[in-house]
Point group: C2
Chain length 200, copies 2
Amino acid sequence: MNNLEYEKHYYPGTRAELIEKLRQSLSASPARFEHCLRVEQTAIQLAKINGCELELASVAGLVHDYAKERSADEFRKVIFQKAMDKNLLNWGNFIWHGEVGAEIIQDELQIDNQQILDAVRHHTVGAVHMTLLDKIIYVADYIEPGRDFPDVDFARNIAWKNLDDAVKFETKRTLQYLMENNRKIYPAAILTYNEWVAEN
Amino acid sequence: MNNLEYEKHYYPGTRAELIEKLRQSLSASPARFEHCLRVEQTAIQLAKINGCELELASVAGLVHDYAKERSADEFRKVIFQKAMDKNLLNWGNFIWHGEVGAEIIQDELQIDNQQILDAVRHHTVGAVHMTLLDKIIYVADYIEPGRDFPDVDFARNIAWKNLDDAVKFETKRTLQYLMENNRKIYPAAILTYNEWVAEN
């Protein structure tokens, strides 16, 4: 376990206190809590390789799924309260815990750093424009050591070599998986694909 | 060859005159002209099975690619003249010959029937809401006897049994093909997929 001392006040407390907040928010799913700890560690490793500040990677990695256990009612309430795009109401937890989750994180954890909040917003379907931190959290979430799917080791090998290639691989494979299984696709995911994968 | 007598005045002339106009518009590509004749015949067969008026299927089948040989400059000019969505400018012939082509067809061929024009608009990437004629042209374009791709016979078998299943099959396979080949995907195609293919 990589025990960073928090110094930048992205979160107004210690890493141990943030982890305790996360444990409470994910109390219904210890497995998801453990996943967040693994994403944090993977994000820190990717941050070291790619020259990203480690504290940003730690905070964003820990909180990326902070709101994942909230009810549909709570997400809908936040969408109205924050006057977010009403089209979000047509989607579900998979989209909400990123886009809407960032608002909940800002309010409940007093995290105001926009890089961290954007990394949470973009961790599910990526974005046309992705910061280094966006890419690190998007990829760390995909390859953390607890993940097990065909080609996960291939994805990990790509990620340790080239973060952009990993974004491309993850985006394409995720869409292909959704399509093979006749799952709905969030239109913004295609904008990510057109930017990161498509060649013409 | 199924020689319909035109009676409804969707096109202000005979079928032979419309075919001559089409030949002129596609003079650079006799193969595309022949493709349009085959799409017409396939559309008429699908119309017979599915209870669609044959003259609609004939006119829409003939003209669906009427504007396909126009230059990018001509398409851009029409987009501006008709105050169409400027986002179209980010795309190319594959999208323009349907969406913008319908405007060219209306102006040059004096075809004002909205069912026919919509079928032209929707023949490349489908639409969330598709009329019977939309579906017939979308599918006829995919399975006409000159088409040759893996699974084309499978697609034909589906089409003769159930038009909606053929729309679903075509939509999914086309997107999968584009993705395998890292080709750009027009976002509206995902809306078609979410409506016709996705199950949750």
